[in-house]
């Protein structure tokens, strides 16, 4: 936890720090990664600075999030270029081509938007964009490791999923969280194709969902998410393969049984429910031992739990990770 905490402390520093490399602060800072707000997003349109957050239907303007506060992740690896993050996307709702997503998604409507949170909860809620933007935002610099063996370092802006879950109060029975992406074939052309089952569904065990590293992201590089990166709101679970970090979420349900997720139902032999980054468990058709960092040549070794082992390994104590892949 220490390494990450230090990085988080570094990451949420002032915008001025962006100009230099890793901040000089040592280990003295006892900061935790939570509750270090990135400045509340301001609202749109109106002249008054204290206008309430955007109302449903109105387009929320770019919230005033500071630009990125560090140039590297906590391991010292540089951030992936903004343009690369926004041009190289897996978002099958639009197309199977990574370079094609940005163009096809450019007119995607992300407002009004709402997320329905329900299932086994005491206080089911429907949150619109204003409700979501009202959460205190934090910057989190995370590695993103795709199951295809490439990776990026991304400065997200978001809030812990745990905060939202605590508000809806999961009942005793709730064991898992099920997430669903928007289903809108008019806007998402590849949903008309029939070659892949939509809507896209992902899931987490409740303790994974409650973990502090798990966030709902609404921005990156200080700006709101673009459609190709999962606007307006997406999950980010940095110790799991990228496909777990479901985009453009419209529904979150607390459930009792392990939910059937899209990839694990398409090819159960190749994709499991957990999908933790693990160099020792190969995909049936390719190795996961190394990865190519976008923007670099020459590979690097993949780290167990994508380098977040200290933070999350305890979640899987006693589990055979070769069985629960």
């Amino acid at each position: 936890m220490k390494r990450f905490a230090a990085a988080a402390a570094a990451a949420v520093g002032t915008g001025v720090l962006a100009a230099c490399a890793t901040p000089p602060t040592g280990t003295s800072e006892p900061a935790t990664s939570t509750d270090t707000p990135v400045a509340a997003p301001t609202a749109s349109g109106g002249a008054a600075p204290d206008t309430p957050t955007p109302s449903v239907g109105a387009e929320p303007t770019a919230p005033a999030w500071p630009t990125v506060s560090a140039e590297t992740d906590e391991l010292g690896d540089p951030l992936t270029a903004d343009q690369a993050i926004n041009s190289y996307n897996n978002f099958y709702e639009f197309t199977f081509s990574k370079e094609g997503v940005a163009q096809l998604a450019k007119d995607f409507q992300t407002h009004p938007w709402s997320i329905e949170v329900g299932g086994l909860v005491t206080n089911p809620r429907t949150l619109d964009l204003a409700d979501l933007l009202a959460y205190s935002m934090q910057e989190r610099i995370y590695r993103m490791r795709c199951v295809e063996a490439w990776s990026m370092v991304i400065p997200w802006i978001g809030f812990p999923l745990a905060k939202l879950l605590a508000e809806v109060e999961p009942t005793e029975e709730a064991q898992y969280v099920r997430f669903e992406t928007l289903y809108d074939p008019e806007q998402m052309p590849n949903q008309r194709g029939g070659t892949f089952p939509f809507p896209y569904v992902e899931g987490l065990r409740l303790d994974e969902a409650m973990h502090d590293l798990t966030i709902l992201a609404m921005g990156l590089y200080g700006k709101p998410l673009t459609p190709q990166t999962g606007a307006p709101i997406r999950l980010v679970v940095p110790w799991k393969y990228g496909f777990k970090s479901i985009k453009s979420i419209v529904k979150i349900d607390l459930v009792k049984e392990m939910p059937e997720t899209t990839w694990s139902s398409v090819t159960p032999s190749e994709y499991g429910f957990y999908a933790n980054v693990n160099p020792n468990v190969p995909h049936p058709r390719w190795s996961q031992a190394t990865e190519r960092r976008i923007g670099e040549s020459g590979r690097r070794k993949t780290l167990l739990f994508n380098g977040y082992e200290d933070e999350v390994a305890s979640l899987y104590e006693g589990m055979d990770l070769k069985v629960w892949f």
Binding site: Y88, W150, H283, R285, W286, S287, T290, R292, G298, R299
Partner: protein, 211 residues
């Protein structure tokens, strides 16, 4: 002998040769220019790996198609394209390997070894490459003469390379595997068209049609 045959094959066959010897180097120049000018995606390594691999497979399939095409059409001169197409396929397969080993892995052979164990498409891609290089090395005419019947057997492995390459492609694709399946089906079809009973039947059919 081979040259003489080509010489007497008419302008059409000569144009095909020109097309191959201009088209393939040109495709390589375009790729190099795209790399140098930064016109590929944000993962240029993958782009180059995909392009060189796909081109190698295309050229190999075209090379394998020469003899069956000559059989079906009766246009024998087309067989002379087999060798240049095969050599270019080997060249592209070599570039494909170079992009993988030198650019993608930065010649870190420990990492290549690490991935080789879990990587099924590498396990079938490497033997395909070895075959193509062996065929390229033994393609000069003196080698043909010296090796005699062994040469013929060795060069039948081109079909094995085609099947391995299609499998390599099939295993590497994440979702939509219709295209690699199509390549595999074409190689199988071309192989069928080389089996002696099939060759006999096709030849008889063609003679009956043209009679």
């Amino acid at each position: 002998m081979v040259l003489g045959k080509r010489g007497s094959a008419g302008p059409m066959a000569r144009w095909l040769h020109v097309a191959v010897h201009v088209g393939v180097p040109l495709s390589l120049l375009v790729l190099i220019a795209q790399v140098v000018l930064g016109r590929l995606s944000f993962d240029p390594i993958r782009d180059v790996e995909l392009r060189t691999g796909r081109t190698a497979l295309n050229l190999l399939v075209l090379s394998l198609a020469c003899t069956p095409l000559a059989l079906v059409t009766g246009w024998r001169a087309i067989r002379d394209l087999r060798r240049p197409l095969g050599l270019y396929a080997a060249l592209y397969a070599g570039l494909h390997f170079l992009a993988f080993a030198a650019w993608d892995y930065g010649l870190q052979f420990d990492l290549i070894w690490l991935d080789l164990r879990g990587n099924r498409f590498l396990q079938v891609g490497l033997p395909a490459l070895v075959i193509l290089v062996a065929l390229a090395v033994t393609s000069p005419r003196p080698a043909i003469r010296r090796m005699g019947r062994l040469w013929k057997w060795l060069h039948r492995l081109a079909y094995a390379a085609g099947l391995l390459a299609a499998l390599h492609f099939y295993w590497a694709v994440k979702v939509d595997r219709r295209v690699p399946l199509l390549y595999g089906a074409i190689v199988v079809l071309l192989l069928l068209l080389r089996l002696p009973p099939v060759v006999e039947t096709v030849r008889e059919l063609r003679e009956r049609v043209s009679a």
